[in-house]
């Protein structure tokens, strides 16, 4: 939850008075349980969505996920009609397998952010994976960024914020 990319987006949103929830998956930080290789974490995402919809009376949701969080979070896109789109940052298609790629397929708006020096969410495979997704979709390449976006947090947060604004306008 205190990862530099997540914090960059969270701080940017809160400073702009946008409601926001960030959370630690099971087994991370002060969340209980153990890492479960995906399905448990997808369940955690849905629990957070339920919390926002049922307890906070949220009517519309956008999901922002980074790396493993992109694969898991964006795979919940079709869980609820309240989810109106997602932003995936460095979606690790190559080591997560096809399941999460299929689960994250959607006709809702999507933004993919990718560093052109990323060797984990491999940049050379990005276009192939991106082409799998239905419209509406767009992408932004962060020039010079690897998987960890050190020094590029504000650029990522700005792109995420502009995507948010483009959805609500």
């Amino acid at each position: 939850m205190y990862n530099n990319v997540v914090s960059g987006i969270f701080n940017h949103f809160t400073q702009n008075n946008i409601s926001c929830l960030r959370f630690n998956f099971r087994g991370v930080g002060n969340s209980t349980g153990d890492h479960s290789n995906g399905m448990g974490e997808l369940s955690d995402t849905k629990a957070c969505i339920n919390f926002l919809v049922n307890e906070q009376k949220c009517e519309k949701l956008l999901i922002f996920g980074y790396s493993y969080g992109a694969a898991i979070g964006c795979s919940a896109v079709n869980y609820s009609k309240t989810i109106i789109g997602y932003c995936a940052i460095s979606f690790p298609w190559d080591f997560m397998g096809p399941e999460y790629k299929n689960l994250s397929q959607s006709e809702k708006p999507k933004l993919f952010i990718q560093g052109n020096r990323d060797t984990l969410a491999r940049y050379e495979n990005f276009e192939n994976h991106y082409n799998f997704y239905l419209e509406p979709k767009k992408y932004r390449i962060i020039d010079g960024a690897d998987h960890f976006y050190s020094g590029y947090e504000q650029e990522v947060a700005k792109e995420a914020y502009e995507f948010y604004i483009s959805i609500i306008e």
Partner: protein, 44 residues
């Protein structure tokens, strides 16, 4: 504008650590952020 609140969300027998910020504005979509928790990476 309200502050950031620590909230624990229950998912069956799991308690999830979260931070929630609620806008003072109404009728805006809520952004949810999913962190990067894979154990092999640092910075989580």
């Amino acid at each position: 504008m309200r502050g950031i609140e620590k909230v624990f969300i229950n998912n069956n027998d799991i308690r999830l650590e979260t931070e929630l910020f609620l806008s003072s504005l109404e009728n805006l979509p809520m952004a949810t952020l999913v962190c990067h928790p894979h154990p092999q990476f640092c910075g989580i």
